[in-house]
């Protein structure tokens, strides 16, 4: 084929040439071109290779339905595989590369697959590659994988950024062709808020492609009409929600500063008007995939919109009056039309007239049997035995309404015999369909269906990209894959990147013909979002990398960073894991120092992240009684109590201390991890289960910064700030540091004398700085999560690794907390037999028999001397830590009948880490079991 640029015509700007590269070769196009039109204008016909047989392929269409002309666009980290040349807006510096070929597009060694095509039929792989069995993963599969696929992913981080945005409207018009422009204007003039979304970079749709059509309607400057070009509506979702991708900067080599590459729009529309036009169908004849065989409508687009002659001598093959239009347009552009081939025995008057006017042979009642020429069409053989030389075949098998979006919510398209097409059936609520998308092809549209040319030689392609032929459809029929979904899945028809836009209906119709069932009985076409493939990055938007999820920082974050904190993600929070002092390089050294400081002097840590819920109301105590296993009505004002919650299914849920601030006022704390879940649970309890209770709840997690002060010298440090003295589990509301409101709690999870001090969050940093200054004389040391974990471990307090949703209160040694005097969430289900089974693993302490042996969480516990099999699995290690006090690794674990086995040696079996350690079963309280330090 010898494509070339016409001297005049089209909407391109011949004054603005644009330089680009394809396969390393420099070319020139014009502003207003697509990559496809620029390639055709530059005489490039061979653009890609097919998926399975690696057949040479050119450009079939001029729109998003393109199955053949897929390229790798851009390079380096911005490489975009499988990009349709027909929708890429030409820009300066554009670089594109052909794909799925080696070593070059013209000489592709994988084309040998074409020779093996008698074997590589639909579904062939299900029938072979089974011998020998071990060869599948080692030999066959790697070969198939390498041969398959299309373009190459960049495999490095996408350097561009993306956004998501939301917009609302009364009417969303999808498509700015004649019908869409009309609909948008009517709605906007009626005062509706209108969004007009058009995938192309200019408005007009089919108007741009047809000669002699009115210029684009003037939309004017209506403030309530928002026009969004380069915006593809990709999906319909429930409640009038539409997804659209705006290609903000894809027409630039690199997005501008602060410019996203693409933007996902969530469009919320009361009504939608689908005006997406129609997509032309190819005809299935022999070797109909040769470069130079194009859709007739696309030929007109290239001629009329882009001023490109896609060939110099054309044969037009159409079963409808598109043939006549195409002949006329080619002729008008000065392109020779050798013949108009029309399978209808009696072509329409328009057809006859067009052929005559163009001086073209009219071959009526005749079909093209086969196109010849390897890298481009050379001639065509007709069913009447003649051969016609040509370098362009313009074919039209009729048109399919672009009804994809109508079926995204399950609407079933309906077969319309008159236009031999599916038309929209059930519609999404609020959607109407207009123009060609509704099957309105104009009053003159006549078609004589032709799904396949019979008696052809060569391959008659139905799905060009996936190399599915008429013979493949026949094979599927023969083997019983007759349901339309079986046909698709067995042959891969319609499963390629074009999602069958040019092939589904034809394939279905051929199946109907072969089985004699008729098209409606064979099935219907269904489509899934997105309408055209959409960049995954756009759906992520801003939320990637470190912005994947928001980061919560406590008011003391900056101070902790100054102190050498190494932070760790705990849910959305960043918390100090440990504090590296100069000269320290590992977490264990730092943690040991921090633990020792708490045990021997005083430590300080930030506990702001614990969930804090303010609970008030006449029934506040009753409410707590119902949500905690233990009782609250007897808790005096000014005191705290440890509480345990179960889920309604009887398993342990969360724990924490709750303080009574007043007769009808409590302050609950939850674990950091469960704060949100507990909040929602309590909201359910008070608003759904027991709306009669007078209970008010407010989260005060963010209002208060909270610091724990622990260690034998903690009272000394606290005394520098306040003269309030508290009993164990006491609480006081007071002021410190010149009038800052404060809440003091005497609580301990470390077994040391300990306090928690809460101040309004803005004062949090000042509080820690003051405490550090006052504590300096006592050796105050900041400690992090590792030390917190170890300190509580030494005291046998359970945390998330024990409260893992699979344990009961009894497992954790907390059964005695469960009040028998009241109902509470989870009480009844906790009594089920398996939850009170004495064989259940229960909480124990574990200590290696050999000093220095390392323990790790997740090791399983087996009886000593027993073989390592599931039958001997008796539990596992939940938490571990190194105790500098004991000079040993210690652990908590859940062990079957563990409480009866103190002193026994069991195996901590950890094959995934290559460890197997004898450990002694001990009390879970390793340190100061009498609790003397707490009160000392």
């Amino acid at each position: 084929m010898t494509g070339r640029r016409l001297a005049t015509g089209g909407t391109i700007d011949r004054a603005r040439p644009i330089a680009f590269h394809f396969d390393g070769q420099a070319y020139r196009g014009f502003a207003g071109d697509t990559l496809a039109s620029a390639l055709l204008g530059a005489g490039v016909a061979l653009v890609g290779r097919s998926f399975k047989y690696h057949r040479p392929r050119g450009i079939l269409s001029a729109g998003p339905e393109e199955p053949n002309a897929l390229v790798e666009l851009r390079d380096g980290a911005r490489r975009e595989p499988n990009t349709r040349a027909t929708t890429v807006e030409l820009h300066d510096g554009l670089v594109a590369t052909s794909q799925n070929r080696w070593p070059s597009l013209r000489h592709d060694v994988m084309a040998v697959n074409g020779l093996l095509s008698p074997i590589f039929t639909a579904g062939f792989y299900y029938k072979t590659f089974m011998w020998p069995a071990a060869f599948w993963e080692k030999v066959y599969e790697p070969l198939i994988r390498r041969a398959a696929g299309l373009g190459r992913a960049a495999a490095v981080a996408d350097p561009d950024h993306y956004e998501k945005a939301t917009a609302f409207c009364d009417v969303l018009v999808i498509g700015a062709g004649p019908a869409g422009l009309d609909a948008a204007l009517v709605a906007a003039r009626a005062g509706d808020r209108v969004i007009l979304a058009e995938q192309d970079f200019v408005l007009g749709g089919r108007l741009l492609s047809e000669r002699g059509r009115d210029p684009i309607a003037e939309l004017g400057d209506l403030p309530n009409l928002r026009v969004m070009t380069r915006t593809t509506v990709t999906g319909v979702y429930d409640g009038g929600t539409y997804a659209a991708i705006e290609r903000v900067a894809d027409h630039l080599a690199i997005p501008g500063q602060h410019q996203p590459r693409q933007r996902l729009w969530r469009l919320v529309a009361r009504r939608a008007v689908l005006a997406a036009g129609a997509i032309e169908r190819p005809l299935a004849f022999g070797d109909n995939d040769r470069p130079g065989v194009m859709l007739a409508g696309a030929v007109r687009t290239y001629v009329n919109r882009f001023g490109v002659a896609p060939g110099s001598r054309a044969v037009v093959f159409a079963n409808n009056d598109d043939g006549a239009r195409t002949v006329a347009d080619l002729h008008a552009a000065g392109i020779e039309v050798a013949a108009l081939v029309d399978p209808r025995p009696v072509p329409s008057a328009a057809t006859i007239a067009a052929a005559q006017a163009a001086n073209a042979r009219l071959a009526a009642g005749v079909s093209i049997q086969r196109a010849r020429g390897r890298l481009g069409v050379r001639d065509v053989e007709l069913s009447d035995g003649t051969t016609i030389a040509c370098d362009l075949v313009a074919m039209s098998g009729g048109w399919n309404p672009t009804l994809h979006l109508t079926s995204h919510l399950g609407g079933k398209p309906r077969w319309d015999e008159k236009i031999a097409s599916f038309v929209p059936g059930g519609l999404p609520p609020g959607m109407t369909v207009v123009g060609a998308a509704a099957g309105d092809f104009g009053s003159g549209y006549e078609i004589a269906p032709l799904w396949r040319v019979r008696g052809t030689r060569g391959k008659s392609f139905v799905d060009f990209q996936n190399d599915v032929t008429v013979d493949d459809v026949a094979l599927a029929a023969r083997e019983g894959f007759r349901a339309v979904e079986h046909l698709k899945r067995y042959t891969t028809l319609g499963m390629a990147t074009d999602q069958g836009k040019t092939s589904n209906v034809t394939g279905l119709a051929i199946m109907a013909e072969l089985t004699g069932r008729g098209i409606p009985a064979t099935g219907t076409t269904t489509f899934r979002p997105p309408f055209t493939p959409a960049a995954i990055g756009a759906f992520a938007g801003h939320h990637r990398g470190r912005d994947f999820r928001p980061t919560r920082r406590t008011p003391m974050h900056g101070w902790a960073a100054e102190q050498g904190a190494v932070f760790v993600e705990t849910g959305l929070w960043l918390r100090a894991q440990y504090f590296l002092r100069p000269g320290e390089s590992d977490w264990l050294t730092a943690t040991n120092r921090e633990v020792r400081a708490v045990r021997e002097a005083v430590g300080l840590c930030d506990v702001t992240t614990l969930g804090k819920i303010d609970i008030q109301g006449a029934d506040a105590a009753e409410f707590l009684d119902r949500v905690y296993v233990n009782g609250w009505k007897t808790l005096p004002v000014g005191r705290c109590r440890y509480g345990l919650m179960l889920r309604e299914d009887g398993f342990a849920f969360d724990d924490g201390t709750t303080a009574r601030l007043g007769p009808e006022h409590f302050l609950m704390t939850t674990t950091t991890a469960n704060a949100g879940t507990v909040w929602r649970h309590l909201e359910f309890c008070r608003k759904v289960l027991w709306p009669d209770l007078d209970v008010q709840m407010t989260s005060v997690t963010e209002q208060w910064a909270q610091v724990a002060l622990a260690g034998p010298r903690a009272p000394d440090v606290l005394a520098r700030l306040t003269d309030v003295s508290l009993p164990h589990m006491g609480l006081a509301e007071t002021t410190i540091m010149d009038g800052i409101e404060a809440r003091l709690f005497r609580l301990s999870f470390s077994g040391e004398r300990a306090y928690e001090i809460a101040v309004p969050a803005r004062h949090g940093e000042a509080l820690v700085r003051r405490l550090m200054a006052e504590g300096d004389a006592f050796g105050i040391t900041p400690y992090g999560l590792e030390a917190i974990g170890l300190l509580r471990l030494e005291k046998g307090h359970v945390v998330g690794s024990e409260l893992n949703g699979q344990t009961t209160a009894g497992d954790l040694g907390l059964a005695r907390m469960m009040s028998a005097k009241k109902d509470f969430i989870g009480r009844v289900m906790a009594g089920r037999p398996a939850l009170v089974d004495p064989e259940r693993p229960v909480l124990v302490g574990l200590k290696p028999r050999e000093p220095g042996a390392i323990l790790a969480g997740g090791a399983h516990l087996l009886p000593q001397g027993a073989v390592a099999t599931a039958a001997n699995d008796q539990g596992y290690v939940t938490s571990v830590g190194y105790s500098p006090q004991l000079g040993s690794w210690i652990a908590l674990g859940l062990l079957a009948r563990g409480r009866e086995r103190l002193g026994e040696t069991v195996r901590a079996y950890d094959p995934v880490r290559g460890r197997d350690t004898p450990v002694e079963v001990v009390s879970p309280v390793f340190y100061d079991p009498e609790g003397s330090r707490l009160h000392g």
Binding site: A243, H486, I536
Partner: protein, 418 residues
């Protein structure tokens, strides 16, 4: 006519224009009565029929399917197979399933492309590492392969994951090398063909509209193609279990939820194993055709609509980008929904019901595909012998009353958390 698949029959057919292939399963008219009727022509139902015929010598079997076989979740899933479970009630079952996968092609003479490319679950915290160690050790105790990888090992294997700018840094992963993927549709077709060859009637476009119960015993199914009598009836219609069980007056500990799956455009080989993101629900692998197949969590509301909504679609893409920032420029080709039987502890049910002759196979949550062979094997065993198979003994309906739950996630009776 060509029946058995071999390289010779394939070559022979290639030389004769593939004219000799015959339908992979017949399209018979329903008989008035079968010894066993399986409701549901999905993977589990077809596998059940095949194993009833091949392992228990039952010949007179029908599989009734309201649409086309494989139209449910066996044709909609993300093709992952694995046995990396935690609980002793689950591991032996899924391991048996993996063993059946390993021998499937030879057993049913159909290449379902069982590809043991490895399943890697990433961890992002110490706690998660220990939880995976617990799981891996449990697997090893059951004789299942499991390896705990550190960050460097993961990086060597998958250098394009986000190791340098991640909100939740990757610390390592639990690898099951024998896990992998299977060509999902081919599983349904392969079992159908193999069952058909043993005389099983596969009745497509045959929708069950009622279950006839006489004297406390199920005696047959009313269908869109008339009444079909049955000695025993097995329900294997996950997604619709609640709906079908209701025909027999049963209420189940199951909610139907929608799970969205995604595929990208075809690409040259990029990811050579299955990877799951530990800071979310995202998982991804690459099909032999080149598409990246991925998904995330369920939408989280009851649905039979086989389609999800934008928030989860966005969420899945966010998680995908967080794990693998090279995904940004790759394109989502299609997303679709499947209806999941979400059971109240996240584990399945293979059990008798209170109605004589009526058996239930349900509650597969988001993980039914990998279970297909063992589910069929064990359900066939239950139906044929009226006693649970050893590896499926925990999948009893009464576990909710006794509390012998199989709650791998520790999430309780909240399906959105499994």
């Amino acid at each position: 006519m060509t029946d058995r698949f071999s390289i010779f029959t394939l070559l022979g057919e290639a030389l004769s224009g593939h004219r000799g292939w015959k339908p992979q399963w017949r399209d018979p008219a329903p008989k008035p009565h079968y010894d066993v009727v399986i409701v549901g022509g999905g993977g589990h139902g077809l596998a059940t029929a095949y194993y009833l015929a091949s392992q228990h010598g039952i010949g007179n079997i029908a599989v009734v399917e309201k649409g086309w076989i494989g139209s449910g979740n066996v044709g909609r899933n993300t093709t992952i197979v694995r046995s990396n479970y935690l609980l002793p009630g689950n591991i032996p079952f899924y391991e048996w399933s993996l063993k059946l996968w390993e021998g499937l092609e030879q057993d049913i003479n159909y290449n379902a492309m069982v590809s043991q490319r490895g399943v890697l679950n990433l961890y992002h915290s110490d706690g998660q590492r220990d939880a995976y160690a617990r799981r891996g050790n449990a697997m090893r105790l059951h004789g299942v392969d499991a390896e705990l990888l550190d960050r460097d090992a993961v990086r060597a294997k998958l250098p394009f994951l986000d190791f340098d700018n991640a909100r939740f840094p990757i610390m390592g992963g639990l690898l099951q090398p024998r896990g992998g993927t299977v060509r999902h549709d081919a599983v349904a077709w392969g079992y159908a063909r193999a069952a058909d060859r043993r005389g099983v009637d596969i009745l497509q476009n045959c929708e069950v509209t009622g279950i006839r119960i006489e004297g406390g015993r199920a005696t047959g199914v009313e269908t869109s193609r008339g009444f079909i009598g049955a000695g025993k009836i097995g329900l294997a219609c996950a997604g619709n279990s609640g709906r079908v069980a209701a025909m027999a007056g049963l209420r189940l500990p199951i909610e139907s939820h929608v799970l969205t799956a995604f595929v990208s455009e075809g690409l040259k080989p990029l990811i050579d194993c299955v990877v799951t993101f530990g800071a979310g629900h995202f998982y991804i692998s690459q099909s032999d055709k080149g598409g990246l197949v991925f998904g995330g969590s369920i939408d989280g509301y009851n649905s039979y609509a086989q389609r999800g909504n934008l928030p989860i679609i966005e969420d899945v893409c966010e998680e995908g980008m967080a794990l693998m920032p090279a995904l940004g420029r790759l394109r989502m080709l299609r997303h679709w929904g499947g209806v999941m039987d979400m059971s109240m502890d996240g584990s399945p049910i293979i059990d008798r019901t209170d109605i004589g002759g009526l058996y239930l196979n349900a509650g597969w949550c988001i993980g039914g595909f990998k279970a297909t062979p063992a589910s069929g094997w064990c359900f066939a065993h239950l139906i044929a012998r009226d006693e649970p198979h050893r590896v499926a003994a925990a999948y009893r309906l009464d576990r909710f009353a006794t509390g012998r739950l199989l709650d791998e996630a520790g999430a309780g009776a909240d399906v959105a958390l499994h």
